[in-house]
Symmetry: C2
Subunit: 110 residues, 2 copies
């Protein structure tokens, strides 16, 4: 039914999957990398940089903003975006804990 049964999972599992999902598209990865590289950036610059249409970029920015990973600031007719540092660090803590699960103690089955 195309719909994840989130009620079957822990809050942490759902949180991890939500963060991961937003990184699950190369355009959003590229947007974030560009924001890290140049600190802050207007939407229009991202459109030229990434190469997708303006409404598409705007939609990806909306998802990143909705998760709190970026901030947007209106400056005249343009909107300046940047990384939301505190939230990025908080996200990193959650994801790193997941990625760092200890693999050394485990015995292979195969």
């Amino acid at each position: 039914m195309g719909l994840a049964k989130t009620e079957m999972f822990t809050d942490k599992q759902n949180e991890i999957s939500l963060f991961a999902k937003v990184f699950g598209h190369p355009a959003r990865v590229a947007i974030l990398q560009h924001l890290f590289k140049i600190s802050s950036c207007a939407c229009g610059d991202l459109v030229s940089e990434i190469g997708l249409a303006q409404p598409t970029i705007s939609q990806h920015l909306k998802e990143l903003k909705h998760l709190g990973l970026i901030k947007g600031n209106v400056e005249g007719t343009s909107v300046c975006y940047c990384i939301h540092k505190e939230n990025w660090i908080a996200m990193k803590t959650v994801m790193t804990e997941f990625l760092n699960q200890d693999v050394s103690e485990n015995q292979d089955c195969c």
Copy 2:
């Protein structure tokens, strides 16, 4: 059109997004956490553990296997799954590099 334009992005960006995408569903997060916890596990045990139907779990396992994050070993009529350690560590390197982009030098725009 529901299809990511991967040709517009770098190999690294596509790689990051593919790894992230597979973590973008709580069932796959739960499967991986369970495999870390108990080292190795039959498909049927994961079905009881997670609570989704057997074909659904089988499908999620297929995706994890396709990305190389788990291994499956046939043991009689059951199949034993475990984390693919080397590939997990390699994935972790890629994802950690992405997550650890330096945020401290950046100036906020807002």
